[in-house]
């Protein structure tokens, strides 16, 4: 097997294994792991362009391997065999800005299902926010123009749901929240 094929297999394996664990792989992680596996030498700065080329080639050759980058432009990789694009997006946004992440999730749910989302979903994986962090996010959102479409509604048993007024009318959002929180359980 030629050396660049060995590199290619190693890169693909690193990305796939992390995807199976539900994680993105950063560009620098791959480099570090290749060095750890003695496929690259850490002191050899000349190898970086070579690594960049191999990484690009590996991603191009393997249909399941995808690149995603956030606002900072840093590339992350994942395998679509075990990680979906929406999930990868959540992971990227989570790192950058939880406020934007929450808003995007709320907007997406309001637009495509359509439905409001309960606050406590953000305590679940992969969001993993604490209740306090969620409340802090909401407070911050309240003062920012870019989040003014994010609204709240409470059900008859007190559960708070979020929705986007860009996609759901307040009345409709309230009735959907009540259906999701109370109605469905009473109509199993």
């Amino acid at each position: 097997m030629r050396q660049h094929e060995v590199f290619g297999l190693a890169i693909a394996r690193i990305i796939r294994e992390k995807s199976e664990a539900g994680q993105l792989t950063e560009h620098e992680d791959i480099l570090a792991q290749l060095i750890g596996q003695s496929l690259l030498k850490s002191e050899d700065g000349n190898q970086r362009p070579h690594f960049e080329a191999l990484l690009r080639e590996t991603v191009e050759k393997n249909e399941d391997l995808k690149e995603i980058s956030g606002r900072d432009g840093i590339s992350h990789y994942y395998s679509a065999q075990s990680l979906s694009e929406p999930y990868a997006r959540i992971l990227i946004q989570k790192k950058e800005n939880p406020l934007s992440l929450m808003a995007e999730i709320v907007r997406e749910n309001s637009a495509i299902y359509p439905r409001p989302v309960p606050l406590d979903i953000f305590m679940e994986s992969p969001f993993d926010l604490t209740q306090q962090e969620i409340l802090d996010c909401l407070k911050k959102m309240a003062g920012q123009k870019e989040f003014r479409d994010i609204a709240q509604t409470a059900t008859s048993i007190g559960t708070i749901f979020l929705y986007s007024t860009q996609h759901l009318e307040p009345d409709y959002a309230s009735s959907l929240a009540e259906w999701l929180d109370v109605g469905q359980l009473n109509n199993p």
Binding site: S19, E20, G22, S82, L83, S84, E85, P86, Y87, I90, I112, Y113, P114, R115, V117, P118, I121, E124, S125, P126, F127, I157, E169, D171, Y172, S174, S175, L176, W179, L180, G183, Q184, L185, N186, N187, P188
Partner: protein
């Protein structure tokens, strides 16, 4: 046809009055009705005269299973129990209850496709079916015992592998609100007292045979695997309830609640569900945890495992172990059930001290399961509990009970949400004790009649979810608008149809659902987003017809309509399509009787038509549209005043629903004015004799 498979070929008939035990040829007599409810309706049509009452010895009760029971087909564990329905008000009519568990498969392995019970024993008996050996055995020592003890005693006699379908004290005492139950937690509601009226305590079945698959075995295995690949979680929810690495979509209301870090903590060692990627078929059983679905994350620490029916990887009867209940209430610390059974005790209470998903609510579930599943009480899809709440908080219980009886209940405990209150209430229902216990045991219609409460009080109250004839709605307009309404008009008890709701609740975005709907029912307009309903159209009627026929098909094949149909799937590479022909593929390979899905749906239509004919015959009127297919007032009223077709209301428009019924009757080939099938329709489906009989009685349109 090649050598027949699927069916065993024999139907067992037991006359308890004479002790005669005989068999009939399934293929010769019942093949056109498949099995399950099909055999049940056929027997009632042929053999139970109009005017028979549920507890008359001339009434019959049929435990029917289908050609797929006991095969490797997924979700094949259903037994349909068909009889004249004691809670059907104001006049008992034909209906069926459906139990999962192991009874269906065991009956097949013992060599039978159905058991027809007729007559009445002169003393308590149980029926022993051990392969070809069938006996009517003395049950006097079991009479007065609960379901649990009865099951254990019979299992000790015929083997631990036996499936025992037993009634509790409620059935013995002829309480209409009673069940027959097998395999610890799998019940068919409403029929316990019919068995009690025949002095039949239980049926114990042990079979060591197998079910023959007619087709190529490799093809069969491939097909079963394909079907498994289409399964979602319970109720065919095809997306997880939180974002999972593999998932494109999620739905916070999904019963697919497995996730990394979620563990069955009462298992030793604790078992992590993992992310349950859909292609990992050996992880299907980890997707569903109905205890956690209903009771919240607090239930994970009590979860032992999932339990369920033969051939079903869904395991919707979640087993929970709640140690404090042993000391606190003196009941076993382990319980299992799903939906209505799991929530049986909890649903009586309006509030709990620690909220609807707190520890007390879980304890109420445990106490409720312990009592109801041993005494054999039926909840009528939660109507029993809703009635109770309405009667208590509406002051009707205080008004109807004498002071002594009223004070004999600890109402302070009830109002505080103390589960020990259930020890006062549930045994009195099972033993027909006092005014309250007796009334609640009658079922809603007869209870209202006995207490002089007009039915309209119930039909106008949305919170009661009451529909008609003593029974509630079961996935009506709240799930699928006009389609749900149509479906709920059709049966003589709650509709028990999930074909439509398992689609609308599958968790996929509305755009994906509409794309699939267009492929199945001819237009994306067959469905709407919840609470955003549009005007009636023919595609909604087609969906209603399809839903009803698939329900009857499943009930006759022994497939689970709480899981199917499988027209959506979790598979992204299939565009989330399922397969509309999975039932016919399984049927054809198993039996050797090759039918495509349209042909098999026609058989289902024959079965459904026979149910309609029976209803018309026994009601003695052809005016079904006005006298049977009725819709409660709450469907047309929104408490907040929203008009129909505005977003945020599930309420319907009267004129639109009239049009919906017109279109539905047309799609069915029934007379629009009366809602009765025409003679030609009966003839088209091989029911010419039924048409002749109805004609003689002036019951054709």
């Amino acid at each position: 046809m090649t050598k027949i498979g699927g069916w065993t070929g024999k139907v067992l008939r037991i006359d308890l009055s004479t002790g005669r035990i005989s068999t009939e040829d399934t293929i010769e007599k019942y093949k056109d009705y498949l099995g399950g409810t099909g055999i049940g309706y056929k027997v009632i049509w042929d053999e139970v005269p109009t005017g028979t009452m549920p507890f008359d010895p001339t009434n019959k009760i049929i435990f029917g299973v289908g050609p797929l029971a006991g095969t490797g087909a997924p979700c094949n564990g259903r037994t349909a129990v068909t009889t004249l329905w004691p809670t059907c008000w104001p006049k008992p009519l034909v209906a069926s209850g459906h139990m999962g568990g192991q009874f269906a498969a065991e009956l097949k392995y013992a060599g039978y496709d159905a058991t027809i019970i007729e007559g009445k024993a002169d003393h308590p008996v149980w029926l022993s079916i051990e392969d070809g050996q069938v006996g009517i055995r003395d049950a006097r020592h079991l009479w007065g015992q609960g379901i649990r003890r009865t099951t254990v005693e019979i299992s000790q006699e015929i083997g631990a592998e036996a499936a025992v379908a037993a009634i509790g004290q409620a059935g013995e005492n002829l309480i209409p609100m009673s069940v027959v139950m097998n395999s610890f937690s799998h019940s068919a509601g409403g029929v316990g007292a019919v068995l009690g009226s025949k002095n039949l305590k239980a049926i114990g079945v042990r079979g060591t045979g197998s079910v023959r698959i007619s087709g190529n075995k490799e093809e069969w295995e491939k097909l079963v695997k394909f079907h498994l690949s289409l399964l979602g979680a319970n109720n065919q929810h095809v997306v997880p309830n939180t974002p999972q690495p593999w998932a494109e979509y999620y739905n916070t209301s999904s019963r697919w609640i497995a996730s990394r870090g979620r563990r069955w903590e009462a298992s030793s060692p604790a078992i992590e569900t993992g992310t349950c990627e859909p292609h990992r078929l050996n992880r299907i059983s980890y997707r569903t945890n109905n205890a956690a679905f209903y009771l919240g994350d607090g239930a994970w620490k009590y979860t032992v495992r999932g339990n369920g029916c033969t051939g079903c990887p869904i395991r919707c009867h979640t087993m929970i172990k709640v140690p404090q209940t042993a000391a606190k209430y003196g009941i076993p610390e382990v319980g299992q059930n799903t939906c209505g059974g799991l929530n049986f005790g909890r649903a009586f209470f309006k509030t709990f001290p620690d909220g609807p998903r707190g520890e007390t609510a879980i304890e109420a579930c445990m106490v409720g399961m312990h009592l109801a599943d041993d005494l054999g009480i039926w909840c009528n899809y939660g109507q029993l509990q809703r009635d109770f709440i309405k009667l208590y908080y509406g002051g009707m219980i205080k008004k109807k009970l004498d002071e002594k009886e009223f004070k004999s209940y600890s109402w302070d405990k009830y109002e505080k949400g103390d589960p020990s209150f259930l020890f006062q209430l549930l045994p009195r229902i099972a033993f027909k004790e006092g005014e309250l216990g007796t009334a609640l045991g009658l079922g809603t219609g007869y209870m209202l009649e006995q207490w002089g409460i007009p039915e309209q009080e119930w039909t106008k109250d949305y919170n009661l979810l009451y529909w008609k004839m003593g029974h509630p709605k079961h996935h009506s307009n709240e799930d699928a608008g006009q389609c749900g309404v149509i479906i709920n008009t059709q049966y003589n008890r709650d509709a028990q149809c999930h074909s439509h709701s398992n689609f609308t609740r599958n968790g996929l975005p509305i755009g994906v659902q509409k794309r699939l709907a267009a492929e199945i029912w001819g237009s994306p307009d067959a469905i709407d987003a919840v609470s955003a309903y549009s005007l009636m159209n023919i595609h909604k009627a087609k969906m209603a017809k399809w839903s009803l026929l698939r329900k009857e098909l499943h009930d006759s094949l022994s497939l689970c309509n709480w899981m199917g149909p499988w027209v959506a799937s979790p598979l992204k590479e299939r565009g989330y399509r399922g397969d509309d022909s999975i039932e016919s593929l399984l049927y054809s390979l198993a039996t050797g009787d090759k039918k495509n899905h349209q042909e098999l749906d026609q058989v289902a239509e024959r079965i459904f038509l026979l149910h309609r004919a029976l209803t018309i015959r026994d009601m003695g009127t052809k005016e079904m549209r006005t006298q049977h297919d009725t819709i409660p007032e709450w469907v047309f009223k929104d408490v907040s005043g929203k008009t129909p077709f505005t977003k945020g209301t599930i309420h319907m428009d009267k004129e639109d629903i009239e049009m919906a019924m017109d279109i539905y009757y047309e799609v069915m080939g029934w007379d629009k004015k009366t809602g009765a099938p025409s003679a030609a329709t009966y003839h088209n489906f091989g029911l010419g004799k039924a048409a002749e009989e109805l004609s003689k009685r002036g019951l054709l349109p």
